[in-house]
Symmetry: C2
Subunit: 436 residues, 2 copies
């Protein structure tokens, strides 16, 4: 019981009521009744709340001050579908009917919890805790947990991309049916793009998943996103790198996006991630546990396939958003500093002001690879329509019909793993469905 994180007053209350973590209960408060499962807490959590997972998948923290009574309802047959058990986390692959999934934690909100002193959130949970927090996962798959990093995603760099890619390669060799990577949402789409290039010809799905509210917070989306990711990693007949997050503000549909075609488009909503200029590759209904695949043609899963791994990234690549009055001397500065690649997030169909032309010409003369994307986000580039675009083409700026974030990851990857001439070719070749 103590291991489940309850202590002090909260532990006393649970003992008094004869219930434990995993019990299906009705909690009566002075405001309303909550029906759900008592969830584990963390060692450092306060002793004045208990956490209940409601039938809709939300976790809710209830102050014990407000609790009038807790009634166990395990024995009620009509509550059958709400009966879960907190199963022990497997530490090695158990062969069974269930899929074997590796859950790799890198940090982020999904693996974080509220600091009750400050009201803020800290990165703290391990993949194991995460796994044990969502007991439904063990119904779907046998899940092994690995802790690789504990970083908020805004701190993830090229170096971490290499570390994650190499780790995934090793984990794949263990023979899993799918891999889930818990990751902060802020830069999850950059990482999914980077992994899409670093890990080609994958035998199984590698699914990045995050949450917009921390896992022990009432109404966290962590559990539903994890369940969706696990269903997809276990059963979808595709291989590659994907992102699984809420499809809408409702809690029963998870969208799975292609790793190179997705963007975080909202600061806080559950459905912040959107596929850009393409449909999600799958929609998962958490009620029926069904996976509705789109008609996007992707590599089917095949555990015998050998992945093609090129996991290096070059730090000397920049992504620059053009704006009115943009200072082209920033480009000169990067050239002088030895930068090898530049993604310019231009305007409209792929433009920057004519006063940038000299700096761009100089960068290209210094063997910098310079590519254009658009800050519009949606739609394709077309640099032959206007004078400006034609001038940029003649200078040697190359349009890339992909998301800026994806173009950045690809250029960093191409320059690290190939010669300059090869990199030029690779940049225009479809590697991971990245082109719009």
């Amino acid at each position: 019981m103590e291991a489940s994180g309850y202590r002090g007053k909260a532990l006393t209350l649970l003992k008094d009521k004869g219930v434990r973590v995993g019990s299906n209960v009705i909690v009566k408060t002075n405001v309303q009744e909550y029906k759900g499962i008592i969830m584990p807490r963390y060692e450092l959590a306060d002793d004045t709340h208990i956490v209940i997972k409601l039938g809709n998948g939300y976790n809710i923290g209830i102050s014990i001050e407000n609790i009038l009574d807790i009634v166990r309802i395990d024995r009620l047959s009509e509550e059958k579908d709400m009966l879960y058990e907190v199963k022990e986390v497997k530490s090695s692959i158990v062969r069974s009917d269930r899929a074997c999934i590796a859950l790799i934690s890198t940090g982020g909100t999904i693996a974080s919890k509220i600091d009750y002193r400050t009201g803020g959130v800290r990165a703290a949970l391990t993949a194991e805790e995460l796994n044990s927090m969502v007991p439904e996962l063990s119904d779907i798959a046998s899940i092994d947990s690995y802790v690789l990093l504990q970083e908020y995603s805004e701190n993830i760099t090229c170096k971490h991309w290499s570390i994650i890619a190499d780790y995934v390669k090793d984990i794949i060799a263990e023979g899993y049916d799918g891999i889930i990577i818990a990751h902060g949402t802020d830069t999850m789409h950059y990482t999914s793009a980077a992994l899409s290039f670093a890990l080609q010809n994958l035998p199984i799905p590698v699914v990045l998943v995050g949450s917009q509210r921390s896992s022990d917070r009432p109404s966290s989306d962590a559990a539903s996103n994890l369940i969706g990711a696990t269903l997809f990693a276990s059963h979808a007949n595709v291989a590659g790198v994907f992102v699984a997050m809420h499809a809408s503000s409702s809690d029963d549909k998870i969208a799975v996006h292609i790793g190179t075609r997705v963007r975080k488009n909202h600061t806080s909503s559950r459905d912040a991630f959107e596929s850009i200029d393409i449909n999600p590759i799958a929609l998962i209904d958490l009620n029926s546990r069904s996976i509705d695949m789109s008609n996007i043609v992707a590599l089917p899963r095949d555990k015998k396939r050998t992945p093609y791994v090129k996991s290096r990234f070059d730090e000397r690549v920049a992504l620059i958003k053009f704006h009115p009055n943009f200072d082209p001397s920033i480009i000169d500065y990067l050239v002088a500093k030895g930068y090898r690649g530049l993604i310019i997030e231009g305007t409209g169909l792929g433009h920057v002001s004519k006063y940038c032309f000299d700096s761009l010409r100089s960068a290209i003369e210094h063997n910098m690879l310079v590519y254009m994307t658009s800050q519009c986000i949606w739609g394709r580039l077309r640099m032959t329509v206007y004078d400006t675009g034609r001038d940029l083409l003649s200078i040697g700026v190359i349009p890339l019909n992909m998301l800026s974030e994806v173009a950045y990851a690809k250029l960093s990857w191409a320059l690290a793993n190939f010669s300059l001439e090869e990199a030029k070719e690779v940049m225009l070749k479809d590697i991971a469905m990245e082109f719009k």
Copy 2:
């Protein structure tokens, strides 16, 4: 006739058929029949096409090689609603029942035409030509045309913002009921934000309008956007700076956006401009010519009101998009160069990596004003939730709940027109409905 731009073979054909610019005709080709109005062309246009405005508002260019016959249908009473006249452009305000509108051209696609040699587009049309190209405008308002600039909008800088603001101030003093600014779409939302700060307490609406396809191109959206802008500038009971563009891919609804709450979100579609985290302030139905105002509370029009003009902008302000592996020495570089302001387009709720903290701290110690926005585009910042945000707040980075483009224009404006201390206050004050 010659003044309307037709010459050579095309002119001969029109003369042979007894029709002229403005005639309501059926053009029979070897493929199909087109019903519409013969439109004027430009002096330098080729002599092998005639241009017809169809009933749906599209212009279409028809090669005279394919024309079997042209039949005048002016006399058919059922064609009443297709009868337009090309009216002479007024060169001074004529008092009448119609509103008096000033159309100021700054360049961009709306004032450009196809170069038939290259198939590309060049900035060339004047406001006068634009006005005369859309004969419907004269039904709605008496329009005076002014040519201020001939720039694609990617070339518009702070200096142009000042020029446009000062010019608009002078034009307002002439007593117009509304002002329309034809502008390239690439940075129209930056300019609309800049003008929203530079021109406060406006007596009348100032409506920026652009087009995604050039005005003499078949299926240009120039005419419908201009008609929508003219209806709004003439009749909507609001003052301020707005953007009028297609509301959807269909050609009969124009959305009018608040100048500080709009973004170009698609490279090529007609409905590329979207209001962010707010509804458009008006939807215009071009069929019924009705204006459906939203419930957004805005300043009503009042020609007696005196505008409050502060039209300077400081060039020493940068907008930087953070990305994984972002090089914070770029911030040091800007500080060393004497930059006074920085908008950081962070991730998620307003984050950048911890390895940027030292450079940000140094920038703030050098009296640089540093603000945070989010590259998510939608949603509000919240920098108190995570360690990273709290650390950034303690360093002195200030969250701005507005679009990055708007924040950039506002900071450039605030630093040019106020002392440093005043600018800090102004940045957090609602000036033009810019806060989300």
